[in-house]
Symmetry: C2
Subunit: 206 residues, 2 copies
Amino acid sequence: MDQKIIPDIVVGRLPLYLRTLQRMSNGGQSVTSSQELGERLGISAAQIRKDLSQFGEFGKQGTGYSVDYLLEQLKKILKVDRVWDMAVVGAGDIGSAVARYQGFADRGFRVAMLFDNDPEKIGSRVGSFIVQDKATMVDTIRAAGIVVAMIAVPGLQAQGVVDELIEAGVKAILNYAPVNLNVPNGVYIQNTDPVTHLQRMTYYLD
Amino acid sequence: MDQKIIPDIVVGRLPLYLRTLQRMSNGGQSVTSSQELGERLGISAAQIRKDLSQFGEFGKQGTGYSVDYLLEQLKKILKVDRVWDMAVVGAGDIGSAVARYQGFADRGFRVAMLFDNDPEKIGSRVGSFIVQDKATMVDTIRAAGIVVAMIAVPGLQAQGVVDELIEAGVKAILNYAPVNLNVPNGVYIQNTDPVTHLQRMTYYLD
């Protein structure tokens, strides 16, 4: 069956819906509406209905959405109804913070290994991890079948690390280095750069 | 003069254009095109031309854009032709990483102070900062005239911290806690949550 092509901008909103639904579910809420989701997220109700309708029929007109049903469906669509092991590359401040981050639990991800190329860091403990030698990274990631990675290395090293991760079979990379990186078709990269978020806000300041 | 209302989604792309132009400029490149910017960023050339045209006339048909001129204009539009002092709240792993992060320099921001409410952390050194007592936060931020803050505190504390920051005069908040937070009109918040980035990619994986 052909998969319908959904615009990436729509895909990018689904994790926000999922996060909000998870909070509603944790709070014991059983039903919600596109209006309520919209108010929580600053997105129009019409946009939310249109986004969700691309993936199926999740609610009935007038009765809203079942929080837990929509939550489970979005987890399936985003493929986080499973747990993805991740490799973290770079055991500096950001990489170490990521390796210890408690926010992955129950959201579909688990840090499985941490690499660095600094002899002083290799073998040291960061949270529950022993920093592994980056020279072994390609073989170790490939052997473990890991396809998701986060990189937190200096900008000048980032493209080289990305190329090695792709060689190891990685398909999805979250990049903390403040540079744009090239990946081939079939490999996905997302950049997380605090400065771009900040600049988006200073636009509105006096 | 009335300011034209620009969609926030357009504003959100300007920092990406700025980052790419800065790299071109650092590499000695003097001219670029919407095609080249588009290829670097995975955005269509037509979209880039349309986005930029909302702010003025930055290039001539057929000759492209002057990298340095467009860079300076985007800095002015995003108001990062100055340096914004920032307060960081939370001296845990992420807050400490942010306080030591080298990626703010020359991009319009500077960490100026770091707060925590943990007696064991208050008074300790993180990078070039002494962790200050969060009990003094509102007065200290107000006295310094700081309007930009980053919060990296546990999810359950985040809304309370946001409310205090607003009381102190903060207008722009970058939130590292994995929760949605409420702010009044005239205050801007951006969430940076690694899981939403990861989930946007696992959608595409098998």
